[in-house]
């Protein structure tokens, strides 16, 4: 197929400016530009613009197999399959300390245009709880999508709506268990938000990954979860779990039937269902601080083309993502607002003092 995608052009250098040009000349003398010219140009409009000169590291601030990791590997696959970048792109997991490790690497790589990072909510939660980095120290490239959260219960539970379920929780007197991924991360934030909004009490039990959480719910070890759609869709279709409501201000747009009677679109919003809480999770791409606009625009362009591929569209629909994609100022505005929301929620929960 497209072998050019994986072949490498050892031309160019890390040093910007005249050095770069000089080394380009050297490499062209060595005949390497011949190899360069044989490759199809990725984006002819950007022929003059910046392009990576060596392997790009795609950092995932989470472990292998999770939502962010899956998305990063999908993006990597789409880029390679469609030849969207000349240089190879490789995924590197740095999930230590709830992602702090990965973000600190990006923070430390100031000005390095060969590193990009995919984010999840830990861009805010880990930043606030460890106070070691902040999104403003990075260069926002683009929002890829927003991940939804759905309130799930076991299919054997006789509650038909979120409201009925919360009545059960209230009657349970604070003994019902909510399973979630990680501590003081998005799942626990949602749990606390529900508690604040409705006055019920859960016992929150943290697990290591979303798949594990969904399985614990199927096995009846916890009473509810706020899994992302993609983490629990298989169990829903198999009739083991049922969705009660989605934590967004609008219903999910996907109308394809997944079970005999329901599509994602049939899941009410939590607000409709009487639980005034909403939360969505950022899936976005960032670069280290101090990179040039041309470098940022390059990746924004690549990601835009990723979003146009059928593979991406299928992934977004299968995972019932909210396909919002923001760039530039609109994205910055969104980030500023969302961070403040997180600060408020985490302060209320007593996890941060500032």
């Amino acid at each position: 197929m497209n072998n050019q995608a994986s072949s490498r052009t050892p031309a160019g250098t890390r040093v910007p400016g005249t050095w770069q040009r000089r080394l380009r000349i050297v490499s062209s003398v060595l005949g390497l530009t011949g190899l360069l010219a044989s490759l199809p140009l990725v984006d002819s409009a950007h022929a003059q613009a910046w392009e990576p000169t060596r392997t790009v590291e795609f950092i995932v601030p989470a472990g292998t197999g999770g939502g962010a990791d899956q998305m990063a590997r999908l993006i990597q696959g789409i880029i390679q399959k469609n030849g969207l970048m000349k240089q190879p792109i490789i995924v590197v997991n740095k999930g230590g300390g709830a992602g702090a490790e990965g973000f600190l690497e990006i923070k430390g790589a100031k000005g390095d245009p060969h590193k990009i990072v995919i984010t999840l909510s830990n861009l805010f939660t880990t930043a606030l709880s460890t106070a070691t980095f902040d999104w403003t120290e990075f260069t926002p490239v683009t929002m890829m999508a927003l991940d939804q959260f759905v309130l799930w219960v076991n299919a054997k539970n006789n509650a038909k709506t979120a409201k009925e379920f919360l009545e059960q929780v209230r009657a349970g007197g604070g003994k019902m268990r909510m399973g979630g991924t990680g501590a003081r991360q998005e799942d626990q934030i949602i749990t606390v938000s529900i508690e604040r909004a409705t006055g019920v009490k859960f016992i929150y039990i943290p697990f290591k990954g979303g798949g594990e959480v969904a399985t614990q719910l199927v096995g009846g070890h916890v009473d509810a979860t706020v899994n992302n759609p993609i983490e629990a869709v298989a169990q829903w279709r198999a009739g083991a779990l049922k969705p009660l409501c989605v934590f967004d201000d609008e219903r999910m747009p996907y109308k394809a039937r997944l079970t005999e009677s329901m599509s994602w679109n049939d899941v009410p919003t939590c607000r409709e269902a009487g639980v005034p809480t909403d939360y969505v999770m950022l899936r976005g791409i960032f670069m280290p601080g101090g990179v040039t606009p041309a470098q940022r625009d390059y990746y924004a362009g690549v990601m835009r083309r990723v979003r146009e591929t059928p593979e991406w569209k299928k992934f977004i629909e299968d995972g019932a993502f909210n396909p919002s994609a923001l760039e530039g100022d609109a994205f910055v505005k969104w980030l500023t607002r969302t961070k403040e929301e997180h600060r408020g929620l985490m302060k209320e929960a007593g996890w941060v003092t500032k």
Binding site: G77, K94, I203, K208, H221
Partner: protein, 499 residues
């Protein structure tokens, strides 16, 4: 026999020339990945995943799962030859495998390891073929208390093994637990023992410690013992495979136990590493030759390898049937399934029959192909020991450094590896046992997480560990195993009194 019919159909899907070639390619790549420490199955598959995007899902999964089996096979090679576990689950293989190699029996050890692996995997595949839905149902019964009980069981089966000073055993084991606690606490998200260092956020990785303790420590000891710069004698004989096979049938009981332990630990996501330790521990306590374990006993190679392979294979079952990965490698495979547009879960067996049965058939074929490939390499690998030490030693240190680095892409890990190399050397000389330490390191945080999750569930009451027959049964079995040395000592004494 619906399953048999489906399986035959699966063979028809899997047995194309292209797929068989992919199997060979996958196994070879996998062995290569398994041989290099740090570049584990999960990493290897993640890296090679994009290669498969242009293939059909069935071909792709056949190739990837063959890489996985290749890595399982390959992990044993460096364990036996150089005392460096290529994979976490081959740590227990070093205990008897490396002494065998030192005695010039590397070929036998490798053959025993590979054959054991094959038997374990085969057993697990048969189980997957015929019992998949039942087993998946059983795996669902495992919540935090059950996990904790399983970890406890793995632990108890291994404790009480050492002969040296009990205080040294305790100190070493607790050192393992202490190191496992470094990093972020899963349950509260607080940082432990990092002292503000961002490098320590990720914790101390098991593989880094093990590469240091065993690999580097072994080189230092070799130097001291004055084996120095001569190549070791290694009898190499193409018939070694058949000679070893002739000895293997007498370990049938150990193999069977190892298969069962492996399947059990693979399905309940304990994984291959605890399975290998547990199988080794149980074999040592039950076998007639138990007292010889650690000195180069073939049974001590068969037990952990068989269990690790059975667990590694069985771990794919929860992934297919429930969509939960039983191991990090399975997690990456799961990502692959999603990219090809396949949704793992209960419906996969119904909606993607070709794919599932093609995969299961490829497990049979891949393992047979794997066994053939690795057995032909036995003389080759055994011959490595003939290379003079002054060439192989620096190469081993380089390979260890690369391995330690690739675990987390961090230089600190390379320094830690050297530190643990010295620790390994000193511990060995002072008779501090290392096996309890590595077991504590690998199971420590997982056991603690599941214990604290259980405590959250029960609001601080330990009685949850006996709250139903399953968890109660495992907990009780664990305690019995823990007390077994005392019980047998008591019985011994009573018998003597009677006489």
């Amino acid at each position: 026999m619906d399953e048999l019919q489906s399986l035959m159909h699966g063979f028809a899907v899997a047995l194309t020339l292209q797929n068989v070639l992919l199997m060979f390619l996958g196994i070879v790549l996998g062995v290569l990945i398994g041989v290099l420490p740090g570049l584990g199955g999960a990493n290897g598959i993640a890296i090679l995943l994009p290669l498969t995007f242009t293939m059909s899902p069935t071909s792709a999964i056949i190739m990837l799962s063959c890489i996985y089996w290749g890595a399982l096979f390959g992990g044993a090679i460096t364990s036996i030859l150089f005392n460096i576990p290529g994979e976490p689950w081959s740590v227990a293989t070093t205990f008897d495998g490396h002494p065998m190699a030192q005695q010039g029996r590397a070929g036998e050890a490798l053959t025993a390891a590979f054959t054991g692996s094959f038997i374990g995997a085969f057993f697990a595949v048969v189980m997957i073929t015929f019992l998949a839905p039942l087993v998946a149902e059983f795996a669902l019964k495992f919540g935090p208390p059950e996990y904790f009980a399983v970890y406890l069981l793995a632990f108890c089966s291994f404790v009480g093994m050492g002969k040296g000073s009990p205080w040294k055993t305790i100190a070493a084991m607790m050192l393992g637990f202490g190191l496992a606690a470094v990093g972020m606490d899963t349950v509260t998200g607080q940082l432990r023992l990092t002292f503000g260092s961002t490098e320590l956020l990720r914790g101390v990785d098991f593989l880094v410690v093990v590469i240091g303790l065993f690999g580097i420590g072994e080189i230092l000891l070799t130097m001291e013992e004055g084996l120095e710069f001569k190549g070791r004698s290694a009898k190499i004989n193409a018939r070694v495979v058949f000679q070893t096979w002739a000895q293997l049938p007498k370990f049938w009981a150990t193999s069977l136990r190892a298969c069962l332990i492996g399947c059990w630990m693979g399905v309940t996501p304990g994984g291959a590493t605890p399975a290998s330790f547990m199988s080794y521990g149980v074999a040592k306590q039950i076998s007639k030759n138990g007292h010889n374990f650690g000195k180069g006993e073939m049974e001590g190679v068969v037990a952990p390898e068989t269990a690790a392979h059975a667990a590694g294979t069985a771990a794919l079952l929860p992934m297919l049937a429930l969509g939960i990965p039983g191991s990090p490698t399975a997690a990456v495979l799961l990502g692959g399934l999603l990219i090809w547009g396949l949704q793992p879960g209960p419906l996969l067996f119904v909606e993607q029959k070709d794919f599932v049965w093609g995969l299961i058939a490829s497990m049979y074929l891949g393992n047979i192909v794997g066994l053939i490939v690795v057995l032909t390499t036995v003389p080759l690998f055994a011959a490595i020991l003939r290379i003079p030490f002054s060439i192989i030693a620096p190469v081993i240190i380089v390979v260890c450094a690369i391995g330690a680095y690739t675990v987390n892409n961090a230089m600190l890990d390379v320094w830690l590896m050297m530190l643990f190399g010295v620790v390994g050397y000193v511990f060995k000389k002072l008779d501090y046992p290392m096996a309890p330490m590595v077991l504590a390191l690998v199971l420590g945080d997982r056991a603690e997480d599941s214990f604290r999750q259980s405590m959250l569930m029960s609001q601080g009451s330990v009685s949850i560990l006996w709250s139903n027959w399953l968890v109660g049964g495992i907990s009780t079995a664990a305690l019995l195993l823990l007390l077994w040395p005392f019980i047998s000592a008591l019985r011994e004494r009573r018998r003597r009194v009677v006489l």
